[in-house]
């Protein structure tokens, strides 16, 4: 009876899990074996550092990351975590923060000033407001990247696929100026399709291809290919969206073992209590 119950629940969940796949006619994202996948997955710190460099040198020009502060980079599981060093005192974090200029008010004069960042400051947005962001990008708003890896289906796989998936539009597809074809972008290309057969999968994105071979020099000597850059920044953005993932999985491992033992004890107790009752 119990097995049936669980099977039924699983069936129900399998059914409701269906709708996730329904949106858009984009290509299914490529599967990447990220180190953080799976129940024991952990972040690869070197990859997060490379990914941060891609973010810093490429993405941050247009995309904000409002929900993160510099100190987050130095917290446990983060790209610049140093064991035993408190996140605010992390030397790498302090150096990174100081590279940024933060808007502030001078407490004496009340003037608007700029000062070097501290570890407690949030990452500054490249644009003062949404209108400025749109004006600078042909009307399209570069979305905030703080939780991007949770805000799209297939998270990091999607980001990787999108960034590395730009290609020449197939003959017969009209691309409006300021738009770029990407097979992993959600959308519908049908109205722009004059070729034969079914319109190509994917959609149009206002962001031009950003990655290029050797555009970023990785400090650890990793070859700087588009594929590598896309993987690394996808991993970094996954960390940015879910910085407590390692803590969560570690906590879960302990909780699971405890619960299984607890269930075993209760079952033994249950059998013993009921042994003399016919039911």
């Amino acid at each position: 009876m119990l097995r049936k119950g669980i099977a039924l629940a699983a069936l129900g969940l399998a059914l409701v899990g269906g709708p996730a796949l329904a949106a858009g006619a984009a290509a299914a994202p490529k599967h990447v074996d990220f180190s953080f996948k799976g129940p024991f997955g952990k972040f690869d710190q070197a990859q997060l550092q490379r990914g941060y460099k891609v973010y810093r040198e490429v993405c941050a020009a247009c995309h904000g990351m409002d929900l993160l502060s510099f100190r987050n980079l130095g917290q446990k599981g983060g790209p610049f975590y140093v064991p035993g060093v408190q996140e605010n005192d992390n030397p790498y974090v302090k150096t990174i923060a100081a590279e940024y200029q933060i808007n502030d008010i001078d407490s004496e004069t009340g003037d608007v000033i700029q000062r070097p960042g501290t570890s407690a400051d949030a990452f500054p947005n490249p644009y003062p407001n949404e209108a400025a962001a749109r004006a600078g990008n042909g009307g399209a708003m570069p979305p905030d990247l703080s939780v991007m890896a949770k805000a799209r289906h297939h998270g990091a796989d999607y980001i990787y696929s999108l960034l590395s998936g730009y290609r020449e539009p197939p003959a017969g597809l009209t691309v409006t100026p300021g738009q770029y074809y990407n097979p992993y972008m959600a959308g519908d290309t049908t109205p722009f399709w004059s070729g034969d057969g079914h319109a190509p999968e994917g959609g149009f994105i206002a962001m031009p291809p950003q990655l290029a071979p050797d555009k970023i020099t990785f400090d650890d000597g990793t070859p700087s290919t588009i594929d590598q850059q896309a993987k690394d920044v996808a991993a970094f953005l996954y960390w940015a969206a879910e910085p407590k993932m390692e803590e969560r999985k570690a906590f879960g491992f302990g909780a699971m073992i405890y619960l299984v033992i607890f269930a075993g004890l209760l079952y033994a107790s249950y059998r013993r209590i009921w042994r003399n009752v016919a039911h």
Partner: protein, 184 residues
């Protein structure tokens, strides 16, 4: 628990089994339940402790060049006022002169400032009685006076008279340079 089992069992011929072992399994299951609730209690208690963003703002750096001789600047630190006072020679001398006086909370003036920085008096501006903010001047000892219940502090921030039991606390701080101090 085991007692109840035997007592309530409608078919109580539980002969032939080791009662210790039977007790053990119920006790272990009960202990596991208590343990689970206990272990889960900690996250729910700890969530009320200061969060990471609160702790991140808990240290401040301050540019001392903004404070003139004989003046005091009050800044907010950890939600409380922080007095940063540049003392005059006369105030320092008065404080040292009272080192031997009958103090409720004995401390020498030298223990309350950094070596060689006698002019800088940095104090948490919360009266040690019930947390009101003392004002400078107005007291009988040339230092701070708490308007709430009349505690008098001297120029070193030491309690001299009134209901407050302790001197104004000195926070952890360090001089990063001659003109910059980091508190916390």
């Amino acid at each position: 628990m085991a007692d109840t089992v035997v007592g309530e069992n409608p078919d109580p011929h539980a002969a032939g089994e080791d009662p210790n072992r039977r007790d053990f399994i119920h006790i272990a299951a009960g202990a596991a339940a208590v343990g689970a609730v206990g272990a889960l209690a900690w996250p729910f208690i700890d969530q009320m402790n200061p969060s990471a963003d609160t702790l991140a703002l808990a240290s401040v750096e301050f540019d001392l060049s903004k404070v003139a001789l004989g003046q005091q600047v009050t800044i907010k630190w950890r939600g409380k006022p922080l007095f940063i006072r540049k003392r005059t020679e006369a105030e320092i001398a008065a404080a040292i002169a009272d080192d031997g006086a009958n103090l409720p909370d004995p401390q020498t003036d030298a223990e309350r400032h950094k070596p060689g920085k006698a002019e800088w008096m940095i104090l948490i501006g919360a009266c040690t009685h019930l947390g009101c903010v003392p004002t400078f001047a107005g007291g009988d000892y040339g230092g701070w006076f708490c308007p709430c219940h009349g505690s008098h502090y001297d120029t070193s921030g030491r309690i001299r008279r009134g209901p407050a039991p302790l001197n104004l606390p000195v926070p952890d701080y360090e001089f990063l340079s001659d003109t910059t101090v980091k508190v916390g």
